[in-house]
Subunit: 208 residues, 2 copies
């Protein structure tokens, strides 16, 4: 079990509808030590790869992207989800369906912040069906840039996003892969990396 | 002129309707070096103050809050602006009118992430009329915590937020205070700190 899987077992909870809630260290409160460990691990898994920009999407991805960008000493760009009154520039626009908010989102980056010589590492907190991730990839490609890799904190292995991205040839690294989870028993099953062996843990037993 | 004022002159632009656009290093693309300098300067201005939590609001505040939290080695909490499907917990809720989006926003923090023994440094990218800032203060007070101070990147000195917060007795530190700006001439005037003397700069001349 790695540091993130341990933290998920200690502080996460499973909500009805296949929702893993990790608000205490990633999605609402941000644990700086976990961010540092994730950034270190992401940098290790992409060692040897040249990266000149970190791309994420507002809002939860920004913290991990920022810590990672400090390590690479490159800028972060965060894609935005909605038009704002002072956003009148030319932009790259992609579509993504949000299962959380149950609506189509426009995702965009202003043109000056993605370039044809960019080597982009895309980072986000969750990967489920891969809608948001494909929108980010689309934005990089619209600009003519290259996607060096994709790093996520938690991949929901029972949804198809990771499988599709890997089959498309992207170098995807997930710090934790949830193979399955069960609300009633509060049991979570991680895919062991890279051996693809699963282990089960019961959150109630661990936290008692 | 300090590092942030210089960066604003180099890369900012003034849009109609009193909008200062600094998307290239703060609100869309994030310049890590500027974040580090801001975090250093904020920590310097609040030296001697005990801080156990950084509070900000999604999305643009998260990057600076994260770098600052690394220096203090404390958690970040970011207040959220809208209800999401998987957010069913008890929360502290405050109201804030957004002039950018021209609507009332509910701003909330889940109860476990603000406590009565918290010593909170509130951080945000912009301070204009102070609506969002007062909502964040309200959330800390609802939890029974203490607001140690308020740090913002850019204060719009021609709006009343800063004046009101200082008159209420808050320790407010702004890394740059825009005293006035003019779209037609692309001229910006910073309040010199702490002497309250103003200097004028023309963005077109500087960038030619």
């Amino acid at each position: 079990m790695n540091f993130l899987e341990e933290k998920i077992l200690q502080e996460g909870s499973i909500k009805p509808g296949n929702v893993l809630k990790i608000d205490s260290f990633l999605n609402h409160q941000i644990d700086i030590d976990i961010m540092r460990q994730m950034a270190n691990e992401i940098k290790r898994r992409f060692r040897g790869k040249e990266v000149n920009k970190i791309l994420t999407i507002e809002a939860s991805g920004i913290a991990i992207a920022t810590v990672l960008a400090e390590m690479y000493d490159v800028p972060v760009v965060f894609a935005k989800k909605s038009e704002t009154a002072n956003s009148t520039d030319d932009k790259y626009v992609a579509q993504a369906y949000s299962f959380t908010h149950k609506q189509m989102n426009q995702v965009f980056v202003s043109k000056p912040y993605l370039r044809d010589d960019d080597k982009v590492l895309i980072v986000d907190d969750f990967l489920a069906d891969g809608q948001a991730m494909h929108a980010l990839i689309d934005l990089v490609h619209q600009a003519g840039g290259a996607v060096v890799g994709i790093a996520v904190a938690v991949e929901k292995g029972q949804q198809n996003g990771g499988k599709i991205l890997r089959s498309e040839g992207y170098h995807l690294e997930s710090m934790a892969i949830v193979e399955s989870m069960d609300w009633e028993t509060q049991t979570i099953r991680f895919r062991e990396q890279p051996k693809e062996v699963c282990e089960s843990y019961n959150l109630k037993l661990i936290n008692e």
